[in-house]
């Protein structure tokens, strides 16, 4: 599963690291940032981060290009992610956050689909089985951190009467 991370073309484009004043341009820029953050965190299995870490991480700091996204702009990107439902702040000071590269409802749907397919409605599963069981190995369910599962199960159960 470990694949070398492929940076998108924007990562090598210096203006990517300057928050664009033109509104339309900025929209495109932020969209690109959001998807980059999510795919980066997914690959590195990082579900939470502090803002300090983020600043120095290769994600926002392209050493080769000698460009880094300034912290105020990082905040703007994180806010975008939060609005989309992919991010949650872990503290009041907004110093660390949770990254959910699949939104809870997306997980919920997937779990429900898997459960239906394997014909196991109305049985009880532990969290562990769901995330680490043989049956789920190749499925998209796999890299699903524990606390995501919790969320997901809540979503799934609200969707289709899966017992907790």
């Amino acid at each position: 599963m470990a694949m070398s991370f492929e940076w998108p073309w924007q990562y090598r484009f210096p203006p990517f690291f300057t928050l664009q004043p033109n509104v339309d341009t900025r929209q495109k820029q932020l969209a690109a940032w959001c998807s980059l953050v999510l795919s980066f965190c997914r690959l590195h299995k990082q579900s939470s981060m502090t803002v300090m870490e983020a600043q120095e991480s290769p994600l926002f700091n392209n050493v080769k290009l000698q460009r880094k996204l300034p912290v105020e702009s990082i905040q703007v990107v994180l806010e975008e992610l939060r609005k989309k439902g992919n991010l949650e702040w872990l503290d009041k000071n907004k110093s660390s956050f949770l990254i959910m590269w699949r939104r809870p409802e997306e997980w919920g749907k997937l779990i429900y689909q898997w459960v239906s397919r394997s014909g196991q409605n109305n049985s009880v599963f532990t969290l562990y089985e769901l995330t680490n069981g043989e049956d789920t190995e190749d499925e998209a369910l796999q890299p699903c951190p524990a606390h995501h599962s919790r969320w997901a199960k809540l979503e799934a159960s609200s969707e289709s009467k899966l017992p907790d």
Binding site: W9, P14, P15, F17, Q20, N22, T25, K28, A32, R67
Partner: protein
């Protein structure tokens, strides 16, 4: 002879003239001195001698300094004289013709007679001592003998009086100098009254401002260089002067604009126009006001204000937006450019180059890279590339 002090010869208040006699010569003790022909005046307080030839040479002795007097009868070839014996001079005596003298008496020689009457009157004054009852300014009064405390006061007071006189003189000079200013202030007062009355009328919305008042008001304002304030902001209005100026500018600037690619910053225009004029230079305000009228007057130039506040004059035929397309090409060719690099390439001023690049960014053709290395512009790949 060292008891005499220089004086203006003018009598003080409370000092009155008793008698005067021409043709009097003064002797220092027995010696003849240069003061050989003068007018001797006796007042209630002093004995004053003024040179007949040089009226500015004038000195006096206080009567209080006289111990006693005696007559000396005339002889063959000699005029009648009065001998005046004097107290020693006070240590702070004011300057006089002689600093020091070995004699403590003087002689007054009456070459044109009059000695008898003079002597009589002088004796009378000595007896009556009217100076003691009618005080004049203190520097005239001295003491019989040296009394340290009081003498000092007299000297200082004398100096103070001189300073006071000097101050009065200065005051007088200043008021003369400012006479014109006070005339100006009278005019200003009129104007203030007028503007107050107009302001009140406007405020109360009552009474029409008369034609006459309006004209007067406008003329005052114009003379101060303010165009009609009510319509200053709107294009198309403004004084005749600005309209004429606008037409003139259109003529002057046509050529230079074409040379510079159809666009010039307003500061460049200001320099160019004033250099051409040589005399009767334009103020920046006048220039801006005239330029504001260019479009309204349908002249071939117009004033344009960018978002950043930079003001330029461009030819009507000049389309900055079209220039943006060519700017994009240039930037794309080079990958990326700063304002300075772009300016150099195209042959524009850096200020205008920056404005063009910013306009291109605004239109979405370029994007920016702002780092410690500076501000660079790139083609906007965010939009063009998926």
């Amino acid at each position: 002879m060292d008891r005499f002090v220089w004086t203006s010869g003018l009598l003080e208040i409370n000092e009155t003239l008793v008698i005067q006699q021409r043709g009097v010569r003064i002797y220092d003790g027995e010696e003849k001195i240069k003061f050989d022909a003068g007018t001797l005046l006796l007042s209630t307080h002093r004995l004053i001698w003024r040179d007949q030839k040089n009226h500015e040479c004038c000195m006096a002795i206080l009567l209080s300094q006289i111990v006693f007097i005696e007559e000396q009868a005339a002889g063959i070839g000699k005029s009648a004289k009065i001998v005046v014996h004097l107290h020693p001079p006070p240590s702070n005596k004011e300057p006089g013709p002689f600093q020091s003298s070995k004699n403590s008496y003087i002689k007054l020689s009456f070459k044109e007679h009059g000695q008898i009457e003079f002597y009589r009157r002088l004796s009378e004054e000595m007896t009556q001592r009217r100076w003691e009852n009618m005080p004049v300014s203190q520097s005239l009064q001295t003491n019989r003998g040296p009394q340290p405390g009081r003498i000092r006061a007299v000297g200082i007071v004398g100096i103070e009086r001189k300073l006071e006189e000097k101050r009065k003189e200065t005051d007088k000079n200043i008021s003369e100098a400012f006479e014109d200013l006070s005339k100006l202030m009278v005019k200003a007062k009129e104007m203030v009254e007028l503007s107050k009355s107009i302001a009140n009328k406007i405020k109360d919305k009552q009474g029409d401002i008369t034609e006459d008042e309006t004209i007067r008001f406008k003329s005052y304002l114009l003379s101060m260089g303010i165009a009609n304030p009510v319509t200053r902001e709107t294009y198309g209005s403004g004084t005749q002067y600005h309209m004429q100026l606008a037409k003139q500018l259109a003529g002057i600037l046509q050529g230079p604009l074409e040379e510079r690619g159809g666009i010039m910053s307003l500061t460049e225009v200001y320099c160019l126009v004033n250099r051409a004029r040589g005399m009767e230079l334009l103020s920046p305000e006048d220039l801006v006001n005239a330029c504001k009228m260019l479009e309204a007057l349908k002249l071939p130039l117009r004033l344009r204000v960018f978002d950043s506040g930079v003001m330029v004059i461009e030819l009507q035929s000049h389309k900055e937006e079209e220039m943006v397309a060519s700017a994009l090409e240039t930037v794309s060719e080079k990958g990326s450019l700063t304002s300075e690099e772009f300016a150099k390439l195209v042959g524009m001023s850096v200020l205008l180059a920056k404005e063009r690049l910013l306009l291109a960014e605004k239109m979405g053709h370029l994007c920016r890279d702002d780092s410690v290395e500076g501000l660079r512009f790139y083609p906007n790949l965010f939009m063009t590339q998926s």
